[in-house]
């Protein structure tokens, strides 16, 4: 069976084609094409601009994907698209494209939950059977474990997503959004050495990131590190606010932090929070495997920290690279095809999209 998947819940437009051989052997990726809408430094992507980007690219990408997979329209069994969660306007433009293809080609539609797409793709690529899943991206932050036909959310963010926190700090520092703000923060953080004190907000199984963002934005302003890099060649004289907390005595802050130090501190703090909640979920469900999915899951420091934690629990961490971690079309095709095989269909009348679609709303019929 062959499915084409359309994904466009945020600034990436992805088209993927997935083959599930009829003999039950390993599914194959026939095409995985992505085009990203990149906004200028210091700015985020606006829904209307992103939607326009998706509308102008979707046909090109579908054509290219079919060509790359050496398929004709007749070979495709179903069209899978992201039903939610995500940004309204981009979701809509992709849902319209999916409906159009469905009518044009006479193929059935399958609406897919974006989060479930990530989980299923991660499971397929890494071969982990029943892991605790950490789903971290620009719009979502969830610790998930599977139990009786649902992906249950054990912990999640109480406010903004972890990727959103990173992206917005990249805007504060006017770091480039190409290829991704989080990627550029990760590179800058490698040069950081000092840890500045930031709030650490784990509440039970849940995390909160907005206060951390406000705190580090405040630090960037205090030290004159915000804005474009050339503008801060001569930073204004400031009084180091961090020293007032007494951290100096512990040797945490010795000199004025740099931009790299702030990126480093932000990553260390928020990733520690994620690893801590994941560890709690693992202890709770008695699992030793972790699967990291979502755009932030590409971050090698996060993978490293998670690896140390999993190792100490006698387990291991599974992560994928940017082809599968970052939003893509094949994950929608993969999850859609699994549902399609169990008889799931999305009639044209119900082929809507929604900004809010909880991971645990999906009935996972294809797992035991």
């Amino acid at each position: 069976m062959i499915a084409i998947g359309l994904e466009g819940s945020a600034n990436k437009l992805g088209v993927g084609i997935m083959l599930h051989p009829n003999d039950g052997s390993t599914p194959q990726v026939l095409a995985n094409i992505r085009h990203t809408y990149v906004s200028p430094p210091g700015e985020g992507f606006l829904p209307k601009d992103t939607a326009r980007h998706h509308r102008s690219w979707v046909v090109k990408l579908v054509r290219k994907a079919l060509k790359e997979a050496r398929l004709s329209v007749q070979d495709v069994d179903c069209i899978c698209y992201t039903k939610g969660p995500g940004m309204g306007a981009p979701l809509q433009s992709v849902a319209v494209a999916a409906r159009m293809l469905s009518l044009l080609w006479g193929k059935e539609l399958v609406g897919v939950n974006h989060c479930v797409g990530h989980i299923e793709m991660g499971r397929l690529i890494t071969g982990s059977t029943n892991p605790v899943v950490l789903y971290v991206s620009g719009g979502n932050t969830q610790v998930i474990a599977y139990s009786s036909q649902r992906y249950r959310i054990f912990g999640e963010t109480l406010d903004i997503a972890v990727g959103n926190c990173l992206d917005r700090f990249a805007r504060t520092l006017h770091i480039s959004n190409d290829p991704a703000p989080g990627y550029n923060i990760e590179q800058l953080a490698k040069k950081g050495t000092q840890l500045v004190e930031l709030p650490y907000t784990v509440k039970g199984m849940d995390c909160s990131f907005s206060g951390i963002l406000a705190a580090i934005d405040g630090l960037a302003a205090t030290y004159g590190l915000g804005g474009k890099e050339e503008e801060i060649a001569t930073p204004p004289v400031t009084t180091p606010a961090v020293d007032a907390t007494g951290e100096n005595g512990n040797g945490s802050i010795t000199t004025k932090p740099t931009r790299a130090d702030l990126c480093f501190s932000l990553q260390e703090t928020i990733f520690s929070m994620l690893v801590e909640t994941t560890e709690r979920a693992m202890a709770h469900v008695g699992s030793t495997e972790v699967l990291i999915v979502g755009g932030v899951g590409c971050n090698e420091r996060l993978q490293e920290m998670m690896g140390i934690m999993a190792r100490d629990r006698g387990g291991s961490v599974h992560a994928t690279d940017e082809r599968f971690c970052i939003d893509n079309g094949i994950m929608i095709a993969q999850a859609g095809l699994l549902a399609y095989k169990t008889g799931f269909r999305t009639p044209l009348k119900e082929s809507t999209c929604t900004q809010r679609f909880r991971t645990d709303d999906v009935f996972v019929k294809w797992r035991d």
Binding site: L195, G204, N250, G307, M309, S316, R356
Partner: protein, 278 residues
Amino acid sequence: MAPPTTYTPPPLPTPFNNTHPAPTLLTQGAEARLYKTTHLTPTTPAALKVRPSKPYRHPILDRRLTRQRILQEARCLAKLVREGVPVPALLALDWEGQGAGNAHGGESGIGGAWLLMEWIDGLVVRVVLERWERLVRAEGRISGVEEERVRDFMRRIGNSVGALHRAGVVHGDLTTSNLILRPASPGTAEAEEEDGRVDMDGEVVLIDFGLAAQSAQDEDRAVDLYVLERAFGSTHPHTEQFFEEVLKGYRESFKAAATALKRLEDVRMRGRKRSMIG
């Protein structure tokens, strides 16, 4: 991917790596490990809670968090003992986990920060209720005397939780595994099941204040009660019908209990997770 390796727990912090008999590991959670050891004399048992350092964290952040959390727990325990709430007494602690004048190795918290507490004899309430439920199922009915006994027991649970809240502390993780029934006469707890009766006399002691906080807000108190209620529902289905007795015991234990119980109704309606629809 790295193959799964067998887990070897890190060594105990000094001086516990050197005691005879060696501390025995009781449970291992995500945050801490609990040992049984001795204090002052070889025959005085004590509970040792070790918070090992987390190697994935930046050392400065790790030290800050471990220190914060162990002190938080210690402050809550000290306050509760002072207020006469049935909790284990705090005996000693080290938030650095290095002992005084540790010469070898400057790395932070090699063995981990630790907290030494009074040993509470007795069974956890979860086990007491499980035994009782097994007995009831075997007999097929609950006699009037038995029912009164279990109701009284539930009221005492409520009293203990009420005393905790009256002292201005919320537990954060109230389950039946975090309550111990300290028998009125020592040494009877283990031998109970043979005579066909489960001992429910004694004092209900609260343990594990790892997630506790100082708070006098109705919301926090109500969440504590809600967590306990859910724990009863999921682990003791036959005893759930008597949960109202816990609330009754709670209500009569302090003045502000009434408003906390009112808030509990809101918390029940809300559940733990808000729906993301609309």
